[in-house]
Symmetry: C2
DNA sequence: CGAGTCGTTGAACGGAATCAATCGTCGTGG
DNA sequence: CCACGACGATTGATTCCGTTCAACGACTCG
């Protein structure tokens, strides 16, 4: 699912980023702040949330380890949301100017970034489409078919995280997984799920 | 939600695309075909689906009017999914080489594309995050807060399409909307929804 | 050896999907 | 001009299934 090199990695190699540590609740940036940087999560988790006029808060995104966020800083002068650490986190900050300079001066890098973003779009679309599947069992099966390579899914993350990615309560996920196995559609080993053909 | 200029528009203006008509069920391209073009939907709808080894089909994305698809052609030599018209559709095909040439020779355009993709990523993330909200009412409210400008949401598409975007049955959506109005949280006029402040 | 987390199963509840029916509106053609 | 059909919007009743609460075993780590 995740591709070879992430945007975060590419940026980190190309323009050096400044690493900072944040505790739970710390603000990385605030809505209205000048958008001078974009960011990556090295460890931890950051919540992006927007404050509405009436003071309500709308969660826009949760960025986990390895992900970049606030790329939209490239588009705007000020941030349109707050970024707050949801866990103790190490964040990398890249200067917006540096990034833009890089993209302008190095067409190869620019192209690489385009490809990265394009594949990210593809992945997000696929994830979104998954959510349109109502039945938990079908959703899981489709997910497995999507991420499988040669009929085998290697589990890199704990199962509960997979459940979260699928938008399911972990209990439902475990149960349904057991159901699929009982139905003879999959077989599980320790860190792998094998998809058994049954056209 | 949708931004000023779409990727489709930018491409259409920069590299001329070839327009083709498709009937329901027609294949735009097939899994394994050389990936020589990327595409945009002018009218109609296209389903992107991947065939697995066992002949099962997994839906990856449904591209509607105004959207581009198969941008991933830029990354790969062959298509990894089938594209089939879900309605009578007019599709624009852009030559991959032309697009790559453009991006390499025109850094300004490349930058514009990067910005477009970045904002697309942001939008997709936001949509995905919405799906993590279980309660239909909360989901709708968050959506409204997200797309509102000055507390007003202008309906561009039929309500039933909004319901689909939110991943809700249209009945549920209507009902919940009525509920929100009864609860005094929103007020509806013909083509607008007003969000009433209530911290 | 305890605390914490992941994985797993059971039982009950609640809410969204689904089926069904109605109304309004718009466009089309006779 | 009106009848007709298509589609969006809406409300009611019922079913179903995923969430939630709860409890437990396995494993890791300090």
């Amino acid at each position: 699912m995740t591709d070879d090199a992430s945007l975060l990695e590419v940026l980190d190699r190309s323009v050096g980023g400044e690493r900072r540590e944040y505790d739970v609740g710390d603000l990385v940036f605030r809505q209205g702040d000048p958008a001078t940087h974009l960011y990556g999560v090295e460890t931890g988790q950051v919540r992006l949330e927007r404050s509405t006029v009436e003071g309500r808060r709308v969660l826009m995104y949760v960025a986990g380890a390895g992900e970049s966020f606030a790329e939209a800083a490239l588009l705007h002068d000020v941030f349109h949301c707050n970024a707050v650490a949801a866990e103790t986190s190490r964040i990398i900050a890249f200067r917006k100017d540096s990034v833009l300079d890089l993209l302008r001066s190095d067409p190869g890098r620019a192209e690489q970034v385009i490809l990265l973003l394009a594949s990210q779009v593809r992945e997000l679309r696929a994830r979104l489409e998954l959510r349109n599947i109502l039945s938990a069992g079908d959703r899981i099966l489709h997910y497995l078919l999507l991420v499988a390579e040669d009929g085998v899914v290697a589990l890199r993350t704990p199962l509960k995280d997979v459940a979260a990615e699928l938008g399911l309560a972990r209990e439902t996920f475990y149960r349904e997984l057991a159901g699929l196995e009982k139905a003879g559609l999959i077989r599980r080993t320790d860190r792998e799920i094998h998809i058994l053909s049954s056209g």
